[in-house]
């Protein structure tokens, strides 16, 4: 893990100019602080009232303060104290916070209750007041300072780590480790703690700035580093009174703290990304935002019947075009041609990685970096979509073309009632009044055979099948002409599957809906599709009416898929049990 982290880190920094500049700045600052005695001959505590409040000059690169002490020397020696205390404090705080948080989150029960109460009480005190009290009780000095600062800083860490632990505890691999006989401490260290590195790093770095400032506040009150000794925070406070007279007194330590905190935060992000096993690819939607080109008529009035197919893919080829992607150059779809007409259900069968979801996303204009359409065309309602911009697509999505996803629970917002959930889809596309929308929502619920009481329920109160009906209702509310169903029944029970498939078939015949049904399950596709296309490795290997594909498959791959349908045959040579 350490080896991969270093490798990722080096790779990330090589591409990152800002990161390198910050690294160089902090490195220089650190080196200067550590080598202070060799760099400046001035004594940071030597007062010289003849030379007080001198502006920066060759003799005093950062000027002198109100005691005539050299600010540059104080900055360097002060950095030693500030950074050492801050780093030690961050380590102590993280150690306490992580231990308490993981213990509370993993063991739960009484342990959790006691620890959470302690955290609550500590959080209720104002942080600085508590730190002052602790430091005053222990007397001034470095060690009491670290203890005082850490004692008040760990509760927020513990809180956040506890929440993350609760989440990781539910992960399959933690359950697997427990059933495998892995002892609790090993589960905690190997599975829970190591997966928390990302959030811990970010937390610690975010707090570094806070800690430096807390330290300075305590130093200012005489509870930390004793006054003649330099320390960044203390320097900031001393200089405050002379801000107008001698701004360099504040600017020097201020800039130093600024650089350290900025660099720490930036690195926290870089390191966190490097701990991820897979490349972190943010969607770059903003690149696609463009001015609207004006919609083709057919898309603007999707319900008007025309001779055009609803969607026509013609020789569609999609490649990974982003050179930063590890899959750069890979071909996802290779010359795929497929049409869906009004009132027709086309089944698209393919295994994971065959490109079926990519094809579905093309019909919604949701193909994005690192993927791009490199050849062929996608026609919606007879209009070529090549030049469509984001806003053009937005008019079509959810209105003329709707999508039903695999997982109904993640497709629904857990804090919205069903009424708002469905109404929102209609509201974004029409200026209709609330009563009109409400009427239509009731109507569409009836169309998917859900009782009106569902309106005021939340997603978690519904069963999986009911949730999928709600998602279908959201798709139907704007009366689309084309419905794309991407594995709509995979997450459901067999008996529920049958009812959802019946519903889709009924809607299709009643409203003349075109249906593109994407699935890996041949048994499901056989129930609904009029025609079937089989996708393998980005190519359509076989296409034809459902009956032909299922009764007289010609292609070897189609035959292999048919043979793989479970339940048709017994595995040979069964060993008979008792």
């Amino acid at each position: 893990m350490a080896e991969r982290l270093t490798r990722n880190l080096v790779a990330a920094l090589r591409r990152d100019v800002i990161g390198l500049v910050l690294l160089a700045l902090v490195g220089t600052l650190l080196a200067l602080c550590l080598m202070a005695p060799w760099i400046t001959s001035a004594d940071p505590t030597q007062t010289d009232f003849a030379n007080m409040l001198l502006p920066p000059s060759l003799a005093h690169p950062l000027g002198t303060d109100d005691f005539g002490r050299d600010v540059f020397a104080r900055l360097l020696y002060g950095g030693q104290a500030s950074l050492a205390i801050a780093v030690v404090a961050v380590l102590v705080v993280t150690a306490i916070g992580v231990t308490v948080g993981i213990a509370a989150g993993y063991f739960g029960g009484a342990v959790d209750i006691v620890l959470t109460k302690v955290i609550d009480v500590l959080l209720a005190f104002p942080r600085l007041v508590l730190a002052i009290a602790v430091a005053a009780l222990m007397g001034g000095g470095m060690v009491p300072l670290i203890i005082a600062v850490s004692a008040v800083a760990w509760p927020p860490y513990a809180r956040i780590i506890r929440a993350f632990t609760l989440q990781i505890r539910q992960e399959g691999y933690v359950l697997a480790a427990r059933t495998m006989g892995t002892p609790a401490w090993k589960v905690l260290v190997h599975h829970v703690a190591l997966n928390l590195i990302g959030p811990i790093l970010v937390l610690a770095m975010l707090d570094l700035g806070n800690l430096i400032l807390s330290i300075s506040a305590l130093s200012f009150l005489g509870l930390g580093v004793a006054p003649p000794q330099p320390e960044w925070g203390a320097m900031l406070n001393e200089g405050r009174a002379m801000m107008e007279l001698a701004p360099w007194l504040v600017l020097a330590p201020g800039a130093a703290i600024f650089i350290v905190v900025l660099a720490a935060n930036y690195f926290a992000d870089v390191v966190r990304d490097s701990t991820e096993g897979r490349p972190v690819h943010g969607p770059r939607d903003w690149l696609r935002v463009g001015r609207r080109r004006g919609l083709p008529d057919a898309a603007a009035e999707p319900t008007v019947g025309t001779g055009h197919p609803l969607v026509a893919f013609d020789g569609v080829t999609v490649d990974v075009t982003d050179p930063r992607s590890p899959y750069f150059g890979r071909r996802i779809l290779d010359g795929v041609s497929l049409t869906v007409r009004r009132g027709e259900c086309v089944g698209l069968i393919g295994e994971s990685g065959s490109g079926k979801s990519t094809l579905a996303s093309l019909a919604l204009g949701l193909t994005r970096s690192p993927l791009a359409l490199t050849a062929g065309s996608v026609d919606l309602f007879g209009a070529n979509t090549r030049d469509w911009r984001w806003d053009d697509w937005r008019d079509v999505r959810g209105r003329a073309v709707a999508l039903v996803n695999q997982d109904p629970l993640s497709a629904l917002n857990p804090v919205l009632k069903i009424r708002e959930q469905i109404g929102e889809v209609m509201a974004v596309h029409s200026g209709a009044s609330r009563t009109v929308i409400d009427d239509r929502v009731r109507e569409v619920l009836n169309e998917v055979h859900l009782p009106p009481r569902v309106l005021d329920q939340y997603p978690h109160e519904l069963s999986g099948g009911m949730r999928q009906r709600v998602v279908i209702a959201m798709g139907l509310v704007n009366r689309p002409s084309l419905l794309i169903a991407d594995e709509p029944t995979t997450a459901l029970d067999v008996s529920t599957q049958i009812r959802i498939l019946d519903l889709l078939r009924e809607l299709q015949s009643r409203y003349g809906l075109g249906l593109l049904f994407v699935s890996h399950d041949l048994r499901v596709v056989a129930q609904v599709a009029d025609r079937v296309a089989i996708l393998k490795g980005g190519r359509v290997t076989d296409q034809g009416t459902t009956e032909k594909i299922f009764t007289a498959p010609r292609e070897p791959y189609t035959r292999a898929l048919m043979a793989a349908i479970p339940g048709q045959r017994r595995l040979q040579d069964r060993v008979t049990g008792t």
């Binding site: 893990m1 992960e171 399959g172 691999y173 359950l175 697997a176 480790a177 427990r178 059933t179 495998m180 006989g181 892995t182 002892p183 090993k186 190997h190 599975h191 190591l194 997966n195 701990t275 096993g277 897979r278 295994e351 994971s352 990685g353 999986g464 029970d493 067999v494 008996s495 599957q497 049958i498 890996h520 399950d521 048994r523 499901v524 056989a526 129930q527 459902t546 009956e547 009764t551 007289a552 498959p553 292999a560 898929l561 048919m562 043979a563 793989a564 349908i565 479970p566 339940g567 048709q568 045959r569 017994r570 595995l571 040979q572 040579d573 069964r574 060993v575 008979t576 049990g577 008792t578």
Partner: protein, 259 residues
């Protein structure tokens, strides 16, 4: 080997399972079938010692699982393969480390060579290449992940494998490969399986006996042939009717050995 007698468990006053009794013998493959919410997972969690039954006893090799010593033994001799292979392995670990975890637990004193030999043997049992040892889970296909989970479960040399919906996260052709692998493994090792599934088709393909579960109760127990083809129980029949029929009989269906 494993037997459940009148096992009952309630959550918030509602019975998740009530009075469940069945047994799994040596070299036996038993299917536990039911729709979601029928109590399949609660039974699995009870067998794995993650839940404590309110009433009834679970016995392992004739001794009650409530006993600490028996539970420690069972923790080694009963291993599990979960539904979603991706989520049940730590995404930040290499294949080597994932497979080493159970070896560390059960063979802490194994030497370097012994361990390397074991790793290779485990991978061979599930037909994975030893080249994969340095890979991370996201570099494997879902089918390979599921094989890896099976290999991990085999590491402590268990006597019973609890397979919790081992196929439902997989593609059709991969399902067939994993089924075949499980079947070959059973022939080679005589390991017992408890296959938990909602899919009667899977039961027909691999199981010897089947336990049909409905609303937390066992409605029927018997051989696969008796239950799937000649059941007289109304609940079983209605559950069987929910199996997606193939509207067109594929010509390649090797039905000659069915029944």
């Amino acid at each position: 080997m494993l037997s459940l007698q009148g096992v009952t468990k309630a959550f918030n006053g509602q019975h998740a399972i009530s009075d469940v009794s069945f047994a799994v013998g040596a070299a036996d493959i038993v299917g536990l079938v039911g729709v979601s919410g029928s109590g399949k997972s609660t039974i699995a969690r009870s067998i794995l010692g993650l839940e404590r039954p309110d009433r009834g006893t679970i016995r392992w090799e004739g001794r009650p699982l409530a006993d600490r010593a028996v539970r420690r033994l069972a923790r080694r001799e009963i291993q599990t393969v979960f539904q979603d292979p991706r989520s049940s392995i730590n995404p930040r670990w290499t294949v080597r480390r994932i497979l080493s975890e159970p070896l560390d637990n059960w063979y802490p004193r194994a030497g370097r060579e012994d361990r390397a030999a074991r790793l290779e043997a485990l991978l061979r049992q599930v037909s994975l290449s030893p080249d994969l040892l340095a890979r991370y889970p996201h570099e494997l296909s879902t089918g390979q992940c599921q094989r890896l989970c099976v290999a991990r479960a085999l590491a402590p040399e268990p006597k019973l494998l609890v397979l919790d919906e081992p196929l439902s996260a997989l593609d059709v052709s991969v399902q067939a490969q994993i089924l075949k692998m499980l079947h070959d493994l059973h022939r080679a090792t005589r390991l017992s399986y408890l296959v938990i599934t909602h899919d009667f088709a899977v039961v027909r393909d691999i199981c010897h006996r089947v336990v049909v579960l409905d609303a937390g109760r066992v409605v029927e127990t018997g051989t696969v042939d008796d239950v799937l083809d000649r059941s007289t129980n109304d609940r079983t029949r209605s559950l069987l009717e929910n199996v997606l029929p193939l509207p067109f009989a594929p010509p390649l269906a090797g039905r000659k050995d069915a029944g």
